[in-house]
């Protein structure tokens, strides 16, 4: 029997209400760091149990302890400050990291959380890193003379983190690069930077990319030095698969295919997701096709996210039964 159609998630899950409240209370100094940490561990364990319960194959820690994906890393490194408020959209504002000196790791950043989460389960837990290109593109730079120097220094830091995760036993390492798709003119820089990150790793590497003009950067995406490309598919109605279909037989990378729209409250039906998976199987053999949501689920309600993930798990199970995949 062939193996395949492993299920995973892109990274973030929604924080339960008690955690959101605790984060606000910490900001008002009503509770201490350790109290918050305790609740973050509790929430992480709940998500691990849920992922096990629905039978997911490669788990994530859900990022209960992270705020923004770039800020989390900058706060735990040297060479960074934080800016005043800038607007993201509508009435949403945030503080943006500012590189004010050489950016370096002070020590492991995500390792402790990865170890904690892996300690809760026998299923593999992914190491989750923000990529160097995205870190640089979503920050201010007051130190480096060029964007390239900034990105490459970050690549070296993220590489050290990846090595630490691998040494600790991580078999899957994902490096998120959502910014890569927005500047085709800097694709080469992104390829070079990710090459530094993944150099010498024996772990299976994945990069998640979202929201962009994929057609314009597709050849570049295929050159990103990772084993697996994780892309949103429902968001484009699976049209993106066409780009892969054109190159069928020549593809060296595996695909993680997003089958859940993370921006919609609507819960997909099992049939919708099964249809998507079958489209993916027209281009990829099951052992090279991974199934996950389009992007991080953190903007959904906890129950919405769970309902969506259950649909995904059921759909995968049914397709596997129908096709005799183990």
């Amino acid at each position: 029997m062939t193996k395949g159609l492993l299920t995973t998630a892109v990274g973030s899950y929604p924080k339960p209400d008690y955690l959101t409240q605790a984060r606000n209370r910490l900001a008002r100094r009503e509770i201490g760091q350790e109290e918050l940490r305790e609740l973050e561990r509790k929430a992480t364990e709940e998500w691990v149990r849920f992922q096990e319960e629905i039978g997911m194959d490669i788990l994530v820690d859900g990022e209960m302890y992270r705020g923004d994906m770039v800020t989390y890393f900058s706060e735990n490194m040297e060479g960074w400050a934080i800016s005043g408020l800038v607007r993201s959209y509508g009435n949403r504002y945030y503080r943006k990291p500012v590189a004010t000196g050489p950016v370096r790791r002070k020590g492991p950043i995500t390792l402790e959380w990865w170890r904690y989460t892996q300690g809760l389960t026998k299923k593999p837990v992914k190491g989750m890193l923000t990529g160097p290109y995205t870190m640089a593109d979503w920050s201010f730079n007051e130190h480096y003379p060029t964007r390239e120097a900034f990105v490459l220094d970050l690549a070296r830091a993220v590489h050290e983190e990846a090595l630490d995760l691998e040494k600790a036993g991580a078999r899957y390492i994902q490096i998120d690069e959502p910014a890569v798709s927005t500047r085709p003119e800097e694709m080469e820089l992104a390829v070079k930077a990710l090459g530094i990150v993944t150099k010498g790793l024996s772990a299976y590497t994945i990069t998640h990319i979202c929201y962009g003009d994929f057609a314009a950067v597709f050849d570049g995406l295929l050159r990103l030095p990772v084993d697996n490309l994780d892309l949103e598919m429902t968001n484009s109605n699976y049209n993106l698969l066409g780009l892969f279909r054109e190159r069928k037989g020549k593809l060296k990378k595996d695909l993680s295919m997003g089958v859940l729209d993370v921006h919609s409250h609507l819960i997909e039906t099992v049939d919708q997701v099964k249809k998507g998976i079958r489209l993916g199987l027209e281009v990829f053999a099951p052992e090279r096709l991974y199934i996950d949501p389009d992007c991080g689920l953190k903007t959904r309600e906890v129950e919405e996210a769970k309902a969506k993930l259950r649909v995904m798990a059921t759909a995968v199970r049914e397709v596997k039964q129908e096709l005799g995949i183990e």
């Binding site: 993201s88 959209y89 009435n91 007051e142």
Partner: protein
């Protein structure tokens, strides 16, 4: 003598005491005599750097919870706009904007008030880590009355220096929208050009002497230049105010030199993200003006004065200083307020230094 700003489309340059008659003014202007005008591209950070100042974020949250009325919210917008005007004037900017404090973003501000649009979900704004609600074209587009006139007049009445009126151009507005009705980019762009032409005429009637059209999208889809040109002709029809085309986030590439033959009197280009513009713009029509966006509007690094002087020097062989504006590379809303303000102060320092060094 009162300096009559509204008399002539370019009379904001007449900040020097000279005898004015319409005829002499025109002659003087043709020669040009104020070297280098410091200006802005448009947007400015909405939130104050200090607590206690009028705060739009709090006000909007309260409006959404029904704790204040729309009128009270508008009062906060007005107060913030007044502060933002003051910051620009105090920095020494010679041609300001109203800071676009009331703009949710460059698209929605117009789309909400043009017939035939509805507003959809969030999408990324070009290559920035900011988002906007995407307008959807759901029917025949039509101008339903002035969009920015009230806001323009509000700023004009409060500013001792000239205020530019800014309009997101038809091509960019069309490109960033979802077309559910026309299914044809050309007719969509051309219809929007008609709509925005009416808006520009309304602004001109209300006293706008400098009308700027923002069209960053044409730099991303340069192959549409023929359509863009057609749209620009419709867009500027009947306008006697000075018109400017502002293009940012990229260099102009192969649009040079045809770009400069469009019906605009001034062009604002991005020399930061589009650094190649220094090499690309080898010649520039002697009857037009060039805006040099040489201060990074998307990064907090504060440029040294010498860097700004050098930028002006590099282009001074192509455009004479009396036909040159200096500005940030794009709107300043990507920055925190205090840094945006510091950038404007630095901009004016750079302009003064460049005048001394190069004139």
């Amino acid at each position: 003598m009162i300096l009559p700003y509204a008399l002539c489309s370019v009379n904001f340059r007449l900040l020097l005491p000279v005898p004015l008659g319409a005829a002499t003014m025109d002659a003087t202007l043709r020669k040009g005599f104020l070297l280098l005008t410091a200006t802005v591209v448009g947007s400015y950070p909405k939130l104050p750097a200090q607590a206690g100042a009028p705060n739009l974020r709090t006000a909007l949250a309260r409006l959404e919870r029904g704790q204040i009325t729309a009128e009270e919210f508008q009062r906060t917008e007005d107060l913030v706009t007044e502060v933002v005007i003051k910051e620009q004037v105090q920095a020494g900017v010679g041609l300001i904007s109203d800071g676009q404090i009331r703009w949710e973003d460059g698209q929605t501000y117009f789309a909400r008030r043009i017939g035939g649009f509805s507003i959809n979900g969030l999408i990324r704004y070009f290559n920035n880590n900011t988002y906007f609600r995407q307008p959807a074209v759901t029917g025949k587009l039509g101008w339903q009355g002035p969009i920015g006139v009230r806001d323009f007049l509000f700023a004009k009445e409060r500013s001792p220096v000239p205020v530019k009126a800014v309009i997101t151009g038809p091509y960019t507005l069309a490109r960033l929208s979802q077309d559910q009705a026309y299914h044809n980019l050309r007719t969509l762009v051309l219809d929007l050009a008609e709509v925005l032409n009416q808006e520009a005429i309304a602004l001109q009637r209300s006293g706008a002497t400098f009308i700027q059209f923002d069209e960053p999208a044409i730099l991303k889809w340069k192959g549409d230049f023929a359509l863009f040109e057609e749209a620009c002709r419709r867009l500027t029809r009947g306008l006697t105010a000075k018109t400017a085309l502002y293009l940012y986030f990229w260099d102009i590439g192969e649009l040079y030199p045809d770009l400069f033959h469009l019906p605009f009197q001034a062009y604002g280009l991005d020399f930061v993200s589009g650094e190649a513009n220094y090499q690309i713009v080898k010649e520039f029509p002697s009857d037009k003006e060039l805006g040099l966006g040489i201060l990074d509007g998307r990064n907090t690094r504060l440029e040294p004065v010498e860097e700004l002087v050098e930028g002006v020097r590099r282009m001074s062989s192509v455009v004479s200083l009396d036909r040159m504006y200096v500005s940030p590379s794009c709107g300043l809303e990507f920055l925190p307020r205090d840094r945006a303000n510091q950038k404007l102060v630095r901009l004016v320092e750079g302009v003064k230094k460049a005048r001394e060094a190069l004139s």
